[in-house]
């Protein structure tokens, strides 16, 4: 196992290596399996800069998410993209790192309104597969200087480089959270209600539906955040707008609303149950179509219906069942037998060629998480 303590050491280790690395931050959300020497970034820690008045934080990649949360919370700020905590779902322990969050572009319910991790990522420093140290972006919110490799690194799962430092935009924690709760809707009704809410002027920051809530019945949740009076006004206005969908309860208890959205964020309805778990991204109106094509199962819809967390029998090929629908599906949890469908969604031939080409540029020796995210660069091609 290698665990570099600074960026220069990380660069040296990669430059000198002939063997591949299996890279992880805290290992709490790693998908798929990779061969190679385990490389951990947990020794690259520390907040380099925190400027609350500019809504900016810069941290070393191995900094734990918990540490970052507490530093920001002390100034009433937070990471607005709500990175999920998948430890319970995946049966992992350890501490999630901010580098791991970025590498997975891990984004929660607020993605539908405020954006994903990639939308808040202002800059990165990383070491590529040749040991070259690269920076891109910076610490300011508006930056179009050169190509945006920041977005490329977000969600690249360590296949293009090992992140050493990330710079993020943060946002103030709102004064009040209000959640509209509607019980008993079918998925198609729920998506209609959520579309109506998201298409309103009321700045909805979360819209989710589950076929089986904590008390066993379907429940639809629509979240509003902001100043207390404003949340009250918008919640009432939205309740009037959605009156056709039945009785609507408005929940403003801080503990209950936080727990409810953490439950959605972490796909907690599937924790500890048998079967494979898939994360499916489609157009919101296709959400109910997806649900109807899958085996009789319990499903959570987030992002207004566009993100589905589905639990299906072991080895079931969700992609095959959804052929013809636009979107993508990732197998988040599975038994891991060789005949299982791939973890990551395959790409069209020309896009796969671009991906392979970029990977070969950044990692010509095939050292970084080979086998992850489709094919690793073939040694023959060099």
């Amino acid at each position: 196992m290698v665990a570099p303590t600074n960026e220069a050491e990380l660069a040296d280790v990669i430059a000198a290596s002939k063997q591949a690395f299996s890279i992880k931050g805290g290992g709490t959300r790693t998908l798929g399996t990779t061969m190679g020497i385990p490389m951990e970034t947990q020794a690259l820690t520390g907040v380099e800069l925190y400027d609350p008045g500019a809504l900016t934080v810069v941290a070393k990649a191995g900094t734990s998410l918990d540490d970052l949360h507490s530093i920001l919370a002390a100034d009433h700020q937070r990471l607005a993209f709500e990175p999920p905590d998948l430890r319970a779902l995946l049966g992992r322990d350890g501490l999630s790192t901010i580098g791991g969050v970025v590498a997975a572009n891990a984004s929660g319910p607020r993605r539908i309104q405020g954006g994903a991790c990639r939308d808040y990522l202002l800059g990165v420093r990383f070491v590529d597969g040749t040991g070259r140290i690269v920076k891109n972006g910076g610490r300011v919110m508006k930056n179009v200087t050169g190509y945006d490799l920041v977005k490329l690194m977000a969600g690249s799962h360590g296949t293009l480089g090992v992140l050493s430092e990330v710079s993020l935009k943060v946002l103030p924690i709102p004064e009040q959270v209000g959640v509209l709760l509607i019980e008993g809707l079918r998925p198609d009704q729920a998506v209609s209600a959520m579309s109506m809410a998201l298409g309103s002027p009321f700045d909805v920051t979360g819209a989710a539906h589950t076929t089986k809530g904590l008390d066993g019945d379907p429940v639809t949740m629509i979240r509003l955040e902001g100043f207390e009076n404003s949340v009250r006004y918008r919640a009432e206005a939205l309740r009037d707008k959605l009156i056709e969908f039945g009785d609507i309860h408005i929940e403003t208890d801080a503990v209950k609303t936080a727990a409810g959205w953490a439950w959605v964020r972490d796909a907690a309805m599937h924790v500890g149950l048998p079967g494979d778990v898939w994360r499916i991204s489609v157009a919101p109106k296709d959400g109910p179509v997806v649900a109807a094509l899958l085996p009789d199962t319990e499903i959570q819809f987030d992002w207004g219906g566009g993100l589905l967390w589905a639990r299906v029998p072991d080895g079931f090929d969700v992609r095959a069942a959804l052929t013809g629908l636009k979107g993508h599906a990732t197998r988040i949890k599975g038994a891991g037998t060789p005949q299982d469908p791939s973890v990551f969604a395959p790409e069209s031939a020309p896009v796969a060629a671009l991906t392979a080409g970029i990977r070969k540029q950044f990692d010509p020796k095939g050292l970084l998480n080979p086998g992850l995210m489709g094919a690793a660069p073939s040694r023959k091609e060099q």
Partner: protein
């Protein structure tokens, strides 16, 4: 402005190349006459001009693919063009290039309120995207000042911003999918009405790649419901420092204004003389706009004013209705026109951390004195995106060069304090040679290696973004073995 020498072979083959292009496009879609091509000799960076060898105006993705395949085979550089409003020379031609204009591709292909997306052909103008959905209460958020004219293709290429991106983000945050044609004619589709890429975020790389990776022919964009209302407050201060501190305090207080605009004294005076908006004569002026219902706006403005008063403003003027709001915005919106009235000017676009604002403004003042050129500052303070306007005399020998030298020094200052060369206009040819101020050779190599993958012959908009010395081997085919 140094540009690469034209490829002689291409110029010699002009007749054949034009014939081949004509064979795949409809009548009148290929412009090769020396008089007519002059319409494409520059974009909004008018200091630099060069008529292209030809210009083509395709009407479909297939036609774009045919054009690019031919140019790829003939080794013709291609410069994609939206509406030609780039302030950075992004659409500046070379003598041997074909300008590929998307202006004839402006249809709305799909409007989907349930999914809150619109899919358009990329030649559609920014404002007419909103125009297609505003009757139903929706809008497309990124709003560059050229929005009446600029095309979505150019917005995607430059990752355009606007005054309201403090709340709504820039193009890349509102772009969900594209159909794009690569230089060799390959058509790819990325993203769509669903969120986030299945593999690498290639959509994120294409957005802001300044037309160097491919020609975007269709774009799927996020649309939002319009807010119930919006109103600004104007706050005047005696010093830039205090105005800067006020901006920070507003942001920290948890209010999320849609815009925080900042003007300094030279800019205030010019705008006042030009538009007579009734601005106070002070050192620094803030315009802060918030959105929501009437009551929500009142509450947010009250909080902002409470924060502003702690810094002893010399004036606070709250807009109580649309008319008063219009008057507050009048001066700001006429800033560029006001400057144009006084003199030739050059508009810079660096971004700085908001906390460095007072220091940067002081240094700009010193540099302005050193060069003997006046600088007026107007910018998006909430996100630190500055637009210093340097006034100069283009008719005076050496005037432009002196202005460019001051501009370069101001941009270096932006980088020095932790910011960047360009916040929303793009690098183009204008800031190409400053890239090594912000990035190391390795940083640029990583970016250029992306272009190697998308366009291995370096034919697409090849003389932009990177210093010519860094790209020469690639452009002339010395490194890639072709």
């Amino acid at each position: 402005m140094e540009m690469p020498h034209p490829n002689k072979e291409v110029l010699e083959n002009k007749a054949r190349i034009v014939r081949r292009l004509q064979s795949v496009l409809s009548d009148g879609a290929v412009i090769s006459d020396a008089v007519e091509t002059r319409a494409y000799e520059c974009d909004a960076l008018t200091a630099y001009k060069c008529p292209p060898m030809a210009a083509v105006l395709p009407t479909s993705t297939q036609e774009v693919a045919d054009v690019l395949r031919i140019c790829h085979e003939e080794n013709v550089p291609v410069v994609p063009r939206g509406s030609g409003t780039s302030l950075a020379g992004g659409a500046l031609p070379t003598e041997d290039c074909v300008i590929l204009g998307v202006a004839r591709m402006n249809a709305v292909l799909d409007t989907d309120y349930e999914n809150r997306t619109i899919t358009v052909q990329s030649g559609r103008t920014n404002l007419s995207v909103t125009g297609a959905v505003e009757e139903d209460g929706f809008f497309y958020a990124p709003d560059p000042s050229s929005q009446l004219a600029c095309a979505i293709a150019g917005n995607v290429a430059m990752n355009s911003g606007g005054a309201h991106c403090l709340k709504y983000g820039v193009t890349t945050n509102n772009l969900m999918g594209v159909v794009m044609v690569q230089m060799d004619g390959t058509v790819i589709e990325l993203g769509g009405e669903y969120l986030d890429a299945p593999g690498l975020d290639l959509l994120g790389v294409i957005c802001g790649s300044e037309g160097q990776l491919g020609v975007v022919t269709e774009a799927t964009l996020r649309i939002l419901h319009k807010p119930e209302g919006a109103r600004p407050v104007l706050i005047g201060y005696d010093s830039n420092e205090v105005a800067g501190a006020c901006v920070s305090d507003i942001i920290r207080a948890g209010v999320l204004p849609v815009a925080i605009e900042f003007m300094d004294r030279p800019c205030i005076r010019a705008c006042e003389a030009f538009a007579g908006a009734g601005y106070p004569d002070c050192e620094a002026l803030l315009i802060v706009e918030v959105e929501g219902s009437d009551a929500e706006i009142d509450a947010q403005l009250a909080l902002i004013i409470e924060i502003a008063r702690k810094h002893n403003p010399i004036e606070v003027r709250e807009a109580r209705d649309a008319d008063e709001a219009g008057r507050i915005w009048l001066g700001r919106k006429s800033a560029f026109g006001a400057m144009g009235q006084i003199n030739d000017y050059m508009c810079l676009d660096g971004t700085i951390p908001v906390s460095s604002l007072p220091y940067v403004l002081r240094r700009i003042e010193e540099l302005s004195a050193d060069y003997g050129l006046a600088v007026a500052n107007v910018f998006h303070a909430g996100d630190g995106n500055m637009h210093p306007l340097i006034l100069f005399d283009a008719n005076k020998p050496g005037g432009l060069e002196l202005c460019e030298a001051l501009g370069a020094d101001i941009l270096k200052l932006c980088v020095e304090v932790g910011g960047c060369l360009t916040g929303e206009h793009g690098v183009g040819v204008e800031k190409r040679d400053l890239m090594l101020v912000q990035y190391t050779a390795d940083d640029l190599e990583a970016q250029m290696s992306i272009k190697d993958v998308f366009d291995s012959k370096w034919l697409m908009n090849p003389a932009k973004v990177f210093p010519l010395s860094e790209t020469e081997a690639r452009r002339t085919g010395a490194t890639l073995g072709h």
